[in-house]
């Protein structure tokens, strides 16, 4: 997948994870890489950049596991940005499916239509 496109999507996912609760770095990475084929070196730079841009703040909290963990918390600015991105994404992906579904919703559909033509 195009790297820039992927980064945009991962950015939305990071925002979405933090929109629901504060999380520490490894947790965010794990939650996302469970569903998408991206690893730490894509996700961490995005977390860091969004923090620098004032979308997240960070704080430390003791853990049972050992050293204190660095938690990320979404700011008001971050939340507004998330809603904006989310809208744009819904709109975009909706449009993509409008186009794709015209050709048929399932593989069999698509294949049948194709066979009718040839």
């Amino acid at each position: 997948m195009n790297a820039q496109f992927k980064r945009g999507i991962v950015e939305l996912c990071v925002l979405s994870e933090l929109a629901s609760e504060d999380m520490y770095g490894y947790m965010i990475i794990n939650n996302i890489s469970k569903h998408l084929d991206v690893n730490e070196n894509t996700i961490y730079p995005i977390m860091r950049r969004l923090t620098k841009e004032g979308y997240f703040t960070t704080y430390f909290q003791e853990s049972n596991a050992g050293a204190p963990r660095k938690y990320y918390k979404i700011t008001k600015k971050g939340f507004d940005y998330y809603l904006e991105l989310r809208d744009a994404w819904d709109h975009f992906i909706g449009g993509v499916y409008e186009i794709l579904n015209k050709g048929g919703k399932k593989h069999e559909d698509i294949l049948r239509k194709f066979k009718e033509r040839t």
Partner: protein, 298 residues
Amino acid sequence: MKTFLENLKKELEKRHFTKEDIEEILEDHQEMIEEAKNDGLSDDDLIEKFGEPSKLAEDLVGSKSSNEETEEVNTDDYKLLQSFPVLENNVDVIISLTSDDVECVAHDEETIEVFYKKVKNINDYKLNFDGKVFSLEEKKKIGLFGFKMGSGQFIVKVPKELNPNNLSIKIVSGEVALVQVNAKDVSLRAVSGNLVVRQGQYASLDMSIVSGDAKVNNVDISKDASINSVSGDITLSEVTAKNFFVKTVSGDCKGREFYPENVRLKSISGDMKITNSDQSRIVNIISKKTLSGEIRIN
């Protein structure tokens, strides 16, 4: 995983991250690696999850602090000649002028913009961009000496992500500055003008001056670099490269925090002096030759 952190540190230093940034990034990674280990991940899993330190460092450049923000070049008293939208990166940039100054800088827009001032007749210049090659040249003039004596000033702004395959600037008596523009192969030539290169990452850099001076600051070259001077002085600071070749006739060369892996120095009567503070970074001296000058490293 200790080597991962060490390599990451090196890669970040290479890209001139601030001390604070490096410390923070390393701490974050230490924490995440600990978590991953507690989670039962093996060393192989970890490598898979954390990837290449160089790639990570590259992706982190966008989150770098302060001093490396794109500097806004003031174009207030300049006129915009033309703005070209850039659809594809890695184009070639060719600038060839006689006595005008040119400054080539990066900006945050997806356009190549050309500004000018003090230009007598802008119709004497030819500007072209076909999506693959950008060129700014002077139209051939048949005059007494083959070229005119006026001196204008140009600013060429290119997208930060443009990363030209070839970037070539040729000038006779004007000044050339290349600032915050990354490129693959860079070639800069001046006769009596000065060349200034600041903040850039290139695969190769080739500079040639006759009587003007050359200054290179905060530049990383992944392969070969060469600077050729007749009587102009060369100043290198915070520069890394694989192979670096400096050749002067009577010009002096001063280096500070200059860490090529291999270096060749050659001078007739010019002096060369390189002072580096980090003694653990080894600079291999392949050859150093001088006739009457002095060459000193550290």
